[in-house]
Symmetry: C2
Subunit: 434 residues, 2 copies
């Protein structure tokens, strides 16, 4: 590619699956990518553009004129077309849409641009097969033939009434097995799951997973069929969500990968490290208030890591269980009070056990009763406190619309550390009677 040997590239990539070409192209820069895509079929090129990682798309699209982009968008499903257009600067968007040859598609895209990217309306494609309740199977087949170019994967034919309201579906299997003159009204399945245009993307993914659907019809507030979401988009939602949660928990901002440059990797990690640093410095400041106590009894310093580490572990465990609970949309939610009571009991049980272990070990190894008592009581308090914080924080974050997985991240664990230290030194101060 570096040598721009067009013949070699064309002959090598000819007939290769676009998904595989996409993988190779990840290693190239924007200009090289354009060079390769220009050599390929428009159809294959369109698929590769769709497969590009989101953060590379906008950079890459700059190299194409509005006309060139329009020919690619012409080959895409409307949902993918919208995603690409959303990556463009506002002025270029209109230019591209105006140049899309297929007017129906241009209309679809304009329509889809109205929705947020993370709701059902933003995930759905307008391409699908719809059949009127009064049609025969033969008419359905004619419609499929007409739309064959537009709708790559059909799965089901959706049945609507004269007003376009979604009534049910007929599977392709049933169409194959029915007589051509059978009426849709006689054979369609009325029992159909659908979502509204404003349903959250997570809800979409969970619904498709729960009912094992490969396509989910989307209806507007009046029950009119306006689009459908296919399983590949739902899968992307699930993996993105898992990825995002993991990054929240590990304190890496943005979408970084092993093969990014040193500087990109450093930048993504620094903000959280600095937050941790500030927390650590606050901790240092706080401990320094007890400087005299420590000078008198240096053993107090020994257990600092024990206290902070246990507080951190308990906090992360608690918030993780809450985050999981929030994600699973359980039908029968316990009340908040009942939830908190349970968290409290679990914390008491674990706190007592851990405190007893520590008390035993410290007494056994130092015979310093005051120290053993201090550490045990502080540890018990820290477990209670960290459980409480670990439960409340994700719930609170969720309420104000922030990803609750954030609660397992560095910011909150640092806060937990500080709280733990406070408890520890207060208990010590009290027990030793300074």
């Amino acid at each position: 590619v570096d040598a721009k040997e067009a013949d070699f590239v064309t002959s090598t990539l000819n007939g290769v699956n676009p998904a595989d070409i996409s993988e190779v192209i990840r290693e190239l820069d924007a200009e090289q990518t354009k060079f390769v895509i220009d050599l390929l079929d428009v159809e294959v090129g369109a698929e590769i553009i769709v497969n590009l990682e989101e953060d590379r798309q906008s950079l890459f699209l700059e190299n194409f004129t509005a006309d060139e982009l329009a020919t690619f968008v012409d080959q895409m499903d409307s949902d993918d077309g919208v995603d690409v257009i959303n990556e463009l600067p506002i002025e270029k968007r209109e230019e591209v849409i105006a140049s899309v040859e297929n007017e129906e598609k241009a209309g679809y895209i304009l329509d889809l641009l109205r929705y947020e990217e993370d709701v059902a309306g933003g995930l759905m494609a307008k391409e699908m097969i719809r059949a009127n309740l009064n049609w025969t199977i033969q008419q359905c087949i004619e419609e499929i033939r007409k739309q064959a170019e537009n709708v790559e994967k059909i799965y089901s034919v959706y049945v609507v009434d004269n007003e376009g309201k979604l009534l049910g579906r007929v599977s392709l299997k049933k169409i194959i097995l029915s007589e051509p003159d059978a009426l849709v009204a006689d054979i369609y399945e009325e029992d159909i799951v659908s979502v509204g245009t404003h349903a959250d993307e997570e809800e979409v993914a969970l619904t498709m997973q729960k009912y094992d659907l490969e396509a989910l019809p989307v209806v507007n507030v009046k029950g009119k069929l306006v689009g459908r979401i296919t399983i590949d988009d739902a899968m992307d939602v699930i993996t993105e969500q898992a990825e995002e949660d993991r990054q929240m928990m590990t304190g890496i901002s943005g979408d970084v990968e092993e093969d990014d440059t040193v500087w990109v990797l450093s930048k993504a990690r620094l903000p959280w490290l600095v937050i941790g640093l500030v927390g650590g410095l606050l901790g240092a400041k706080f401990i320094s208030l007890f400087e005299k106590d420590i000078a008198l009894i240096p053993a107090m310093a020994f257990f600092i890591p024990l206290i902070t580490a246990t507080g951190g572990n308990v906090g992360i465990q608690s918030s993780s269980i809450v985050v999981q609970g929030l994600a699973s949309y359980n039908a029968f939610e316990d009340t908040l009070l009942k939830k908190m009571l349970k968290v409290f009991f679990v914390a008491v049980v674990n706190g007592i056990i851990l405190a007893l272990i520590v008390f035993g070990i410290v007494i056994f190894s130092t015979s310093d009763q005051a120290m053993a008592g201090t550490v045990a009581i502080a540890l018990f308090s820290v477990v209670l406190l960290a459980s409480f914080m670990g439960t409340v924080t994700p719930l609170a974050l969720d309420k104000i619309g922030i990803n609750p997985a954030m609660a397992s991240g560095p910011f909150i664990t640092t806060a937990n550390d500080l709280l733990g230290l406070t408890v520890y030194f207060m208990v010590a101060h009290f027990l030793y009677g300074f």
Copy 2:
């Protein structure tokens, strides 16, 4: 349900989607569940049993006789049937399989029992439509009609030669649009993605996601078509994997949920907390070696949380990036050396920045140059060390076949804490020249 009012249950649940009934049933115990399922159609009951969470299945299945189970298994796809049978004690397995009426299905299940649960062979179902290369479309349709009961979702007809070797596929859409006397050989797509029976379940899920497939054919070593995996199973693999990674990272053993009992929740969390506790006690023991130093300069104790927290954060970030890299099966892997070099440079950049910040702040607030130098140098060393450990540990775990996400768990972070403390006190000892 408590009052066992059969009529009420039947009338309420009649016509409700089995996936919804499954959700309601999660709130019941094994006996109540059996009561409800006995009232429902065998077909619906079978679907509910498949939907039961894995850890409840075995408990629940004890309440049924082998004969009863066999009638349910008769209604399941072979892949689900095997999953259920795998939950039974060995003796009962044979009994159930012997009682399955559909002999073909019994044969399928026996065949599938040979595979591990986490490879392609363990995920696939034997039910699918296969067509000989020499058939006409009409013959395909006849085959679909014959198998309509067995194969719930068809997606594609797989094309095989006389030896049963997989050659390609014909989509249902194409079957609908082709003339009945067209030959399969003339219209089938040769370009087909398949996996071997021993492919890892993660590879299966990634392949289906990469190529946007809703069904993936499975072939044996000779290229013979032996089964197919549907997208719902791949989705389950992805969510389970994400869940497992999350639990590894947060130190919760086993599959716990918010609505488990206090005792179950405590038990799942205790082992990791105890590991953390032992680590903390080792840390205490270690710090106690420096008791005299601390008595002299209590300020040394102030920065303990700063050092351990930063080490922990850096370690988790590094291992998280590596784990992500391992999961994505990148085609162009950097060499190990190149990877380590990059990790090293990122660590140097971040380490220098953090060290400078800390040095500035400590000098500014205490004017204690030795202390500022100690903390800065120790912090820099800890960032380097934690990056190294965070990178090497998941790679090493992956090599010996342990889930690398474990490296972000409490065990490793505790080890990192200890390492960080060692570095800190050694540097302090050296700089202060005790």
